[in-house]
């Protein structure tokens, strides 16, 4: 039982790490209906920029601020160069644009900062804590707390600020939002900048765990089933989806893996996501699309 609980807790904590990446997708999808395939590249780009500045002797918080400004500049450039010319185009066009964007950001990141793998220490110990006979990672607990704070911050932003109300209006109905004078382009830029900030936080935590390297962009593969289960439009859903995916993949690997050959952790979440798609296509917290026919 103790072992089961340890696997379960480890899975839940890992799931929150997936949620951190998934939240970036949700933000952009909510505001523009675009599935931003470039979110993983943004995670890589932000972490690589941060660590490269740090290695050049720039203090931690200055590196953080400069990277954040870089991500805001990137958001501005994306809105101007990619999104604005594609307004009113079908979602698949915008998706393909983000697909291309993903490769461009990855290429630029390596061209700017090189292909070297970087270690990143955030000063958080990764020594295990023994709680009730279980070993829990201090770093994972810190990441879980960060995810919680991020959700709280985004909830306040969305629900209690003028910008947040505008964001929700755009998410509900872009044409109606335009009709009442909300500037769509400005909102998009803000959303991409916030997604960049989320990408930076995710990049630092994942970078500290994996090392800052190209594989960081692959963490999006873990976020996709989270989004399918939690729903593409709910930040809370990203958290719940992450918890479900994290816990189930770990339990499956430990208990089902030996029976069916092991190494199932990568595809098992997609099996689960597929089942959810069949039963609840919008995910647990996703908004069901209602169309007049």
């Amino acid at each position: 039982m103790e072992f089961f609980l340890e696997v379960l807790t480890g899975g839940l904590l890992a799931g929150l790490m997936y949620s951190l990446v998934a939240i970036g997708f949700v933000l952009i999808y909510k505001a523009s209906g675009v599935f931003n395939f470039a979110q993983g590249s943004m995670v890589l780009f932000s972490a690589l920029t941060f660590v490269s500045l740090l290695e050049r002797g720039v203090p931690f918080w200055v590196s953080f601020a400069v990277t954040l400004l870089t991500m805001i500049a990137l958001a501005w450039a994306i809105e101007r160069v990619v999104l604005r010319p594609l307004v009113n185009r079908p979602p698949i066009t915008l998706f393909m644009a983000t697909l291309g964007l993903s490769y461009i950001i990855e290429g630029v990141a390596q061209a700017m900062w090189g292909a070297q793998v970087h270690g990143l220490e955030l000063g958080i110990s990764d020594a295990p804590l023994e709680i009730g006979g279980m070993l829990l990672s201090q770093f994972d607990l810190f990441s879980a707390a960060t995810a919680g704070i991020l959700v709280l911050f985004l909830s306040l932003l969305f629900n209690k600020t003028r910008i947040g109300i505008s964001l929700r209006a755009v998410a509900d109905d872009q044409l109606a939002a335009l009709a009442v004078g909300i500037k769509l382009q400005r909102i998009w830029m803000i959303v991409w900048a916030v997604a960049g900030f989320v990408g930076l936080v995710a990049g630092l935590l994942w970078g500290a765990r994996l090392g800052v390297q190209f594989s960081l962009s692959l963490v999006v593969l873990k976020a996709l089933p989270v989004l399918i289960i939690g729903g593409f439009t709910s930040i809370g859903g990203a958290i719940v989806g992450g918890l479900i995916i994290g816990a189930s993949e770990k339990l499956a690997e430990v208990y089902l893996g030996p029976i069916i050959g092991g190494g199932i952790e990568n595809w098992f979440p997609y099996v689960l996501a597929l089942l959810f798609l069949l039963v609840r296509p919008a995910g647990i917290f996703g908004e069901r699309a209602i169309e007049r026919v």
């Binding site: 292909a115 970087h118 190209f214 594989s215 430990v254 190494g263």
Partner: protein, 445 residues
């Protein structure tokens, strides 16, 4: 055209152009070409830039220091593969015919996938395929794979040497009985290749082996390490690749497994594998065929002749002397030595791939020759032949001290006598499938 010739200055110009073209042709005709299927972008760029940086710097060094080999200078060109097999094959086809008249000596893709995809083509094109420290284990049998060279170390030798080291640490191979060893392997054909040999060795020496797979890319390993904690092994062999390695070390720390009982294989042994894991990597052991560091005459000479002259290939000069860079230099030494050996037989001129193959098969690097090359201690003694395309099969062990690798053992030899029949069984099966008649190596000279 006629009007041009009527003008004396134009005539001189045309003659000069013709002469320069002619001299260009002469120059190219006295060059030996290395086609480089390199990867400098993409997920494996850290390895690619280090390896190809070292390889190119060594070729450059031989050109600058000795004017090439017997007056034949080396030339090369790169084709970016991004470690993608299709691109690797495309690059192979584009570069195999040589450059400006300089014939190709050998291909060195440093990629298991690309090596497998170009293996048959190499035999058809009679162009050696060098898979230093990796590749198909059965290609060690040169009678079936005349053009493939898993130089220094094939995958089976790797694990055999690791088990020999663990046996040594336990007080002898007979003390392995009852020990528990877990192998954490990358979920790919590369990762799985040595599993049957581990099971064979477990049966032979009486230890218990548990094989645990980590799905690619390996950025999440909590469940695997919790399983390892439950098994409580004496040693963990890490057969990783890329991001899987630092994550394994970090997760081991989280689950309380000591790093100094984890032994990394040949693709878990670089600075890029250990450094990102920070403090969790301290004490981590791995095998190596070539120590890192710059304390070898050949490297000091490369520094003086190439790097300090501003002709180095590395974008970041701090990587000089790292594991991947030194592997590139070792690869350069072996390729150049093959050309040198082949020139002694075929003449001091650019050689065909077939001739260079003969050179590889006749490499004999003993301590005296290694000292001449300034590579004593950097390269293991090697003796290749028609039937043995590996040549060495020995490794040294190194330990990460938190900042760099420190060599902690002498050469540890794989049990090659035990492995040879298994290799031959596999190579002969391949020969039968492909309709290849193995060469009679007793008739090769």
């Amino acid at each position: 055209m006629l009007s041009i010739i009527k003008k004396p200055s134009a005539l001189i110009g045309a003659l000069t152009l013709g002469l320069s073209l002619l001299s260009g042709t002469v120059q190219a005709a006295n060059e030996q070409y290395f086609p480089l299927q390199s990867y400098r972008v993409g997920p494996y760029a850290a390895g690619g830039t280090g390896f190809f940086g070292g390889f190119i710097d060594y070729l450059q060094y031989v050109n600058l220091k000795e004017g090439g080999v017997n007056g034949v200078k080396f030339t090369w060109s790169e084709c970016e593969t991004e470690y993608v097999v299709e691109k690797g094959v495309e690059c192979y086809e584009r570069l195999k015919k040589g450059l400006n008249g300089a014939p190709a000596a050998a291909t060195n893709p440093l990629s298991v996938g690309i090596a497998y995809a170009t293996l048959d083509r190499s035999a058809t094109d009679k162009l050696p395929l060098i898979t230093i420290n990796h590749g198909r284990t059965d290609s060690t049998d040169g009678s079936v794979f005349p053009y493939v060279f898993p130089l220094q170390l094939n995958p089976y030798s790797e694990v055999s040497a690791i088990i020999n080291y663990i046996g040594d640490k336990s007080g002898g191979l007979d003390k392995l009985k009852g020990k528990k060893i877990v192998t954490l392997f990358h979920g790919s054909p590369y990762g799985k290749e040595t599993n049957p040999i581990l099971e064979l060795l477990a049966k032979k020496y009486g230890f218990q082996v548990t094989l645990i797979e980590v799905p690619h890319p390996g950025n999440e390993q909590q469940s695997q390490w919790l399983n390892i904690r439950r098994i409580k092994p004496d040693w963990v062999i890490l057969r990783g690749w890329g991001v899987m390695n630092p994550v394994a070390l970090k997760t081991a720390q989280k689950t309380g497994f000591p790093a100094d009982h984890i032994i990394g294989n040949i693709w878990s042994n670089s600075e890029e594998d250990a450094a990102p894991a920070g403090a969790a990597a301290k004490g981590f052991i791995s095998i190596t065929t070539h120590p890192s560091g710059t304390n070898f005459p050949v490297l000091q000479d490369i520094d003086k002749t190439v790097l300090k002259a501003g002709k180095g290939n590395l974008q970041d000069s701090k990587r000089f002397g790292t594991v991947y860079y030194n592997l590139g230099v070792v690869n350069g030494i072996l390729n150049v030595e093959a050309v040198r050996v082949a020139q002694a037989k075929f003449g001091k001129r650019p050689l065909t791939g077939e001739e260079v193959r003969w050179g590889f098969e006749n490499i004999k690097l003993d301590d005296a020759r290694l000292k001449q090359l300034g590579a004593y201690g950097l390269v293991q003694p090697l003796k290749l032949s028609c039937s043995d395309h590996e040549g060495g099969g020995a490794v040294r062990f190194q330990q990460w001290d938190g900042k760099q690798w420190k060599v902690i053992s002498d050469w540890v030899q794989a049990d090659r006598k035990l492995l040879r029949p298994i290799i031959e069984e596999s190579s002969h099966k391949y020969a039968k499938e492909k309709g290849i008649t193995p060469r009679d190596c007793s008739k090769e000279s």
